[in-house]
Amino acid sequence: MAQGVMIIAEERDGEIRKVSYEVVSEGRRLADSLGQNLTALLLGSNIKDKAPKLGHYGADKVIVADDPRLEKYTTDAYVSVIAQIVKANDPAILLLGASFQGKDLSARLSARLGVAMAQDCTMFAIEDGNLVATRPIYAGKAYAKLTFNNSWPQMATARPKVMALNTPDESRSAEILDASFTLDDGSIKTKVADIVKDESGKIDLTEADKIVSGGRGMKGPDNYNILEELASVIGATVGASRSAVDAGWRPQTDQVGQTGKVVSPNLYIACGISGAIQHLAGMSTSKLIVAVNKDPDAPIFQKADYGVVDDLFKIVPALTEEIKKIL
């Protein structure tokens, strides 16, 4: 019978990504409430020395698939290897982070395993020994509480920045095992030909701790420099509304909302964003929302914890200066 919790860790450039520690932490909580073990699966090339860190966050066991062909993620190779290891270990619950890689991997892996998968969940619980997953649908206009119907493992991905991170305990040591798998070169049909890094070091909106976002009220692309300044002072990533992206003021990767990115930062500062339903859907799981808008009737104020009704071109630079004094 399927037993235990398994998580799949994500690695980039030799480091385990933060979302994976969030997933290990959540996996630990679920394993504890089941009274079962937590296994982490780590894939990569020359990655084994990173495995103990997964133990620090709560894994009892780490299975490492170390192979030069797993150095860069490809859907084909990863799905093939992971499916073998999952089948051999038969976990009751299988969790991944809902990063770009995690979403791609989990979708294809669920088909390979022939199981259902709850994508981009914001909450998990164990009820009657089974996993109950809660996830936003319609980009957060509604939430669905889901359970699995004789589908093993119960598979889900966790939205980044939502699951509480355990405090790493370096005295905790996990059992580390080498995975046994076969990988046929012929089954790898795609290859990463090139990687273009964003040299600005900008943290992706989906993983940002703080976001300063600008909408139509910014009036033009050049005015975003005041948001960039505020963002650099508080360590935030700059985002944009759909109208700002469609006007060509900001790149598409900056768009927050139903047809852009769904974000959950600790702080979201919306500047000159009226709060169209599609935008609100994309940012309403932010922990603290600040809105700066001239229009007191803007719908964004209904979601905001702090609202400032005033000209953003006066407020934002003044706020940047005030924060500099405090920090």
Partner: protein, 264 residues
């Protein structure tokens, strides 16, 4: 080059989602149904590739009869033919079941590239594309903003932005690509296009036509059950920052962020 585009209908993104009495579904009465915006990018990209390499673009929709409108829209944009998979037994199917029905239609077809949207803006699963590729045993590349088909028409490069970088992924054909915003600017259907679309072939298939077992589909075939749908958590009423001047308001806001909310 033959290209397939899979599309679904979703509620217009303006829609206010209302939960039905049963607590497990949404009220569909006043919903305006549109082609999933991400699928539209797929249609446009297919047409652009066809314009360069020739071949045919086939659009496959799945769902109730109303999905015909979206298929006709794609035909009016320039696609050559349409297939609608429609069967009462499909109502409520999960992502894997949808992929299975699509795969059953596609298996007999001759194709080089399949496009789907990177996700439906309804349930936001983003599973069908990858699952379909797995069932067809072809590679998939997800969330793509640029496609470059090689001059010889035998391979392509797809640009996939992920956190902090863009992956350029190379694949032979056939391949399945899921379309992300930024891939292109979908064209509008022209009036002659709309007229022509009325005469283009649009075939309808039921599960029986595809030799599929209805018990694998619909609510009964779901491997994941909805326990309940709820509205998003309510946020508590916010505070409007008072002050005589913008500087005063900014100063008070900075203080609150630092001392009350402790986010700085």
């Amino acid at each position: 080059m033959n290209i397939i585009v899979c599309l679904k209908q979703v509620p217009d993104t303006e829609t206010q989602i209302k939960i039905a009495q049963d607590g497990k579904s949404i009220i569909e009465d006043d919903i305006k149904w549109i082609m999933n915006p991400y699928d539209e990018f797929g249609v446009e990209e297919a047409l652009k590739i066809k314009e360069k390499f020739g071949g045919e673009v086939t659009v496959i929709g799945l769902g109730p009869k109303r999905v015909t409108e979206s298929i006709r829209t794609a035909l009016a944009m320039g696609a050559d033919k349409g297939v609608l998979i429609s069967d009462p037994a499909l109502e409520g199917s999960d992502s894997l079941a949808v992929a299975k029905a699509l795969a059953a239609v596609i298996k007999g077809m001759d194709y080089d590239i399949i496009f789907t949207g990177q996700r439906g803006v309804d349930e936001d699963n983003g599973i069908v594309g990858a699952a379909l590729a797995d069932l067809l045993d072809i590679p998939n590349i997800s969330v793509v903003v640029k496609v470059e088909v090689a001059e010889d028409g035998k391979s392509l490069k797809a640009y996939r932005p992920v956190e902090g970088q863009v992956l350029i992924i190379e694949s032979g054909l056939p391949v399945l690509i899921t379309a992300q915003k930024g891939l292109n600017e979908p064209r509008y259907a022209s009036l002659p296009g709309i007229m022509k679309a009325k005469k283009k072939p649009l075939e309808e298939k039921t599960l029986a036509d595809l030799a599929l077992d209805p018990s694998d589909f619909g609510e009964g075939g779901r491997k994941m059950k909805v326990l309940e749908l709820t509205p998003p958590p309510q946020r508590k009423a916010g505070k409007i920052i008072e002050g005589e001047t913008p500087e005063q308001k900014a100063s008070e806001l900075a203080r609150l962020l630092h001392e009350e909310a402790k986010v700085l």
